[in-house]
């Protein structure tokens, strides 16, 4: 990557984005996309049956959803951008250049959603005391907000689908072809009922706290939420099947490197089983709660909640993974270098073209230091020196802990690295640079070293004459 290298060595950069992104989805799906529809339904039910306890419960659940979505939910959404802008700025910057209007329309829906959620939540108590007509408007407002929340997903799933569909991305570079992406509708059909069921699962968890003093109502609420789950589960099941059937054909067609298929197949079978187990057990539990609420054990209030978190977390994690070795399919590798620039970088070496480097040439004296700079430029988006997925632990697994590592062996490994580890990009530099990085890595076996990332140590450019700069090309 040719920008100042932000790097968190102990955590691993991809992990940083991963934590924030998964947290965001785990809040956004159950509490916003599914949550508002769920709360509005409870509110409507309370109004219809003229039982104030439903309204109180709905309001309490809404308070929880409101506080969490407008703090952690909203800010982790911004956090995905912040972290992506630090970890792989070239990737996120390229995507924004292309999908600007897509994100802009998403923003307009966001603004609508936030304004509506503020009105919906803050007028709840006052509108409820102003007669049945006003209450009905409030309920309608709730369903309008639910539609807006769902619409944010409609757009973002299109953008996500587009990012995974490199063929179309490179060809027409237009936002609307996202909607023609064959995986788009199935993915939406899968995520929508899953979000609804997750909202129910979260509600189930929350009634443990909100019905503490009314055990009889708890059983009623349990039954109602279970019914909600039951209604959505056939749709979730159908959506999952549709999605599961469509992924292999569309995804494999899009995978440029055929060998990624291997990892894809593994992921695919795991996800398929997970979907099956989680949805079926969700259905079974819901059926139990509907038929025999009095026998439903307390522990099972929590299980569906955790089950869905696990399913979605896994789903998102691996969905990201199969994009590798690319950050943007067929265009940009996950190391931040464009595929197009590889022949130039391999011919001239990275060093000649990196903006931030201490020198333009490798000598026997500076080999270790330059090797480290090149490691940071080419490898540090995914690898750390001492932290999670550290390069030293990887090398220990390959070459042994006690045997001395050999520069030539590692330099040779770089040549075919992308063929044996098909999720890794090819090496983006020349032979001399392979040896310099290898020399640094071998040196690491006997020396402890720290990353010196831009956020603490700044950047440098080579000391050179002006004519030296001109001779670069």
């Amino acid at each position: 990557m040719d920008l100042p290298i932000f790097h968190i060595d102990w955590l691993n950069n991809r992990f940083l984005i991963g934590i924030i992104a998964v947290l965001h989805v785990l809040i956004n799906h159950p509490l916003a996309v599914g949550g508002i529809a769920f709360v509005s339904t409870l509110e409507w039910w309370g109004h219809k049956t003229d039982d104030k306890r439903w309204d109180d419960l709905a309001y309490k659940i809404m308070t929880t959803f409101f506080v969490i979505t407008t703090t952690v939910g909203a800010m982790t959404g911004v956090g995905i951008w912040f972290s992506a802008g630090l970890v792989n700025p070239i990737a996120i910057g390229s995507l924004i250049r292309v999908f600007y209007w897509g994100w802009f329309s998403e923003w307009i829906v966001f603004v609508t959603e936030v304004v509506l959620i503020l009105i919906y939540y803050l007028t709840w108590k006052s509108w409820s005391t102003q007669g049945a007509a006003k209450k009905r408007s409030h309920i309608r407002l709730g369903f309008g907000l639910a539609a807006a929340s769902w619409l944010t997903m409609v757009i973002i799933v299109a953008i996500l689908g587009f990012m995974m569909d490199p063929g179309t991305w490179l060809r027409d570079k237009s936002f609307f072809s996202a909607f023609l992406n064959p995986a788009y509708l199935p993915q939406l059909a899968f995520r929508t009922p899953i979000a609804m069921m997750m909202a129910g699962g979260t509600g189930l968890f929350l009634i443990l706290f909100f019905t503490r003093h009314d055990k009889e109502f708890r059983k009623k609420a349990l039954r109602a939420i279970a019914l909600w789950q039951l209604c959505w589960s056939p749709l979730a099941f159908a959506g999952a099947l549709w999605y599961a059937n469509i992924i292999p054909s569309t995804m494999i067609a899009n995978l440029s490197v055929a060998n990624t298929t291997q990892h894809f197949t593994e992921w695919y079978s795991i996800v398929k089983q997970l979907i099956l187990y989680v949805i079926l057990s969700g259905m079974a539990l819901a059926l139990w709660a509907t038929l025999k609420p009095q026998w439903y054990p307390r522990a099972l209030y929590v299980i569906p909640f955790i089950g869905f978190l696990f399913l979605l977390g896994h789903f998102e994690r691996v969905r990201e993974f199969i994009r590798k070795p690319f950050a943007i399919g067929n265009y940009l590798y996950s190391n931040g270098f464009r595929a197009q620039d590889y022949p130039l970088l391999q011919q001239d070496g990275m060093l000649k073209h990196l903006t931030y480097a201490s020198t333009r040439s490798i000598t026997p004296e500076n080999k270790i230091g330059v090797g480290k700079e090149l490691f940071m430029a080419a490898c540090s988006r995914c690898h750390t020196i001492n932290g999670i997925n550290s390069i030293t632990s990887n090398l220990e697994a390959m070459y042994g802990k006690d045997k001395p590592w050999v520069v030539e062996d590692i330099a040779t490994y770089f040549v075919a690295m992308h063929k044996t580890r098909t999720f890794m990009p090819p090496f983006p530099g020349n032979a001399e640079e392979r040896k310099a990085i290898a020399a640094y890595l071998v040196w690491l076996q006997t020396h402890r070293d720290e990353a010196e990332p831009a956020q603490s140590y700044g950047v440098e450019i080579p000391q050179q004459t002006q004519s030296g700069t001109a001779a670069q090309y």
Binding site: Q262, Q346, T355
Partner: protein, 505 residues
Amino acid sequence: MNTSFLMHLHSGVLAQIHATVPVPRDIPLPLPAPEWLLVTLLVVSFLLHILFVNLIVGGSILTLVYEIRGRREPRYDALAHELARTITVNKSLAVVLGVAPLLSINVLYTIYFYTANALTGTAWMMLIPMIILTFLLLYSHKYSWEKLRNQKGLHIAMIASAVALLLIIPLVFLANINLMLFPDKWLAVKGFFSSLALPNVFPRYAHFLCASLAVTGLFLVWYVGRAKFDMAARLPDFEKNALRKHFYALAFGASTAQFTIGPVVLLTLPERGVSVRMVATIVLGAAIALPALWYMWKEITSTEGNVGKHLYKVAGLFSLVVVAMATGRHLYREESLADHQEQMRQKTAAFEAASVKALQKRMIALGKQHPVVHNMTAAKARALAVNDCTTCHDPVAWNEEMQAPPMSYLAARLDLSPSAGAGGSPGETVFLQNCAACHAVDKKLVGPSLAEIAPLYANNAKGIVAWAKAPGKKRTDFPQMPAFAHLSQKELEAVALYMLQTGQK
């Protein structure tokens, strides 16, 4: 893109680049809309965002002050509570309205913005947890008002912590936006704190804090003056006109202070971006503020009952002031980066030209499957020029009129192995590109040597093929081999024979 023109262009230009200013390359993708439109969206959406940011910061500071004062004068506690209710609403709007300017700054100042972000990375990333914590503190503070009535110290500590965070957060944003403008300072910055040492940071920060108090003061004049606002029920111990005058006085004081801070901000700006039209725009903005101040003064000193009759005039004038200031700010940004942006454009174009040339060279070298190139003699293929390829391939973008995909698209489909094309026999080529990473002829690398493998599979090339498609794990002290099912049957058979031959020697 006319590449030969670019090649010609770059040589003279790069010599002008000063050796101490880093000139990175831009992302070589076009802007999604005309620049003026993106700039307008940036400036307008940023103003909306900063308005609500001002209201959170100013509102929280005032809440803290009033709540402390409320310990002696209970009516100020009620006022603080009223104010606290508005902050959490404003904060949600501030966040969501911040997304559009974030998008626009990403697309307009891509490399500048990301460079500043990375150089202050720890603080920049900490913004997310800091803002989440601030918001949670604000909610806890608001919703625990009655519950913690007898633990006022704890309750005040909550809002005090939120205020402390709210004083740090804008400083991080400001340091970034500031650092972005000065590529000549990038080499000097070592982390967030050193970015604060750049000129202009603290004067701008003071300017922002004063603006927050002024905006909040005016907002509150409106808020308590609304017909719907039931003074008697919510703030029974205040008189409406007196309270509105109090907020006016706050806004007036803060706005007057800007006349001292503003010139300091202007004078501490590095000279490079200062232009006549930028200073004129700022001065015009300051001039529009004068009648607003005069109206405010009239309201504060008015002896009539209806305080607030000039509010919309004041708000309208201040909106104009803010638009003028934001425009001046943008003119400065444009002016100060103009030279550097031009250098970056040229460097990007030169690199693009070199990249396409190298790509073409590689494609010709690998052109065995190419319908035209594979019929040529090697010498003729080598002699192909960029222009020969560009009759069918666009160098970069998809073009419906071209017969073939662009070279950039084909790049990822090329063999990008650093040593592609090496190897004497087909089997050796496959071996070098796939297996040599872990297997050597006569020593253990990651996996066993060929000398060790060959006797095990003597006359059994098929066994090697089967193993390579779905490797198991036989040796406990070796890592598991990945599968090579993606290689064709022909390639696998060739490499198996090569391995047996080489290992037996």
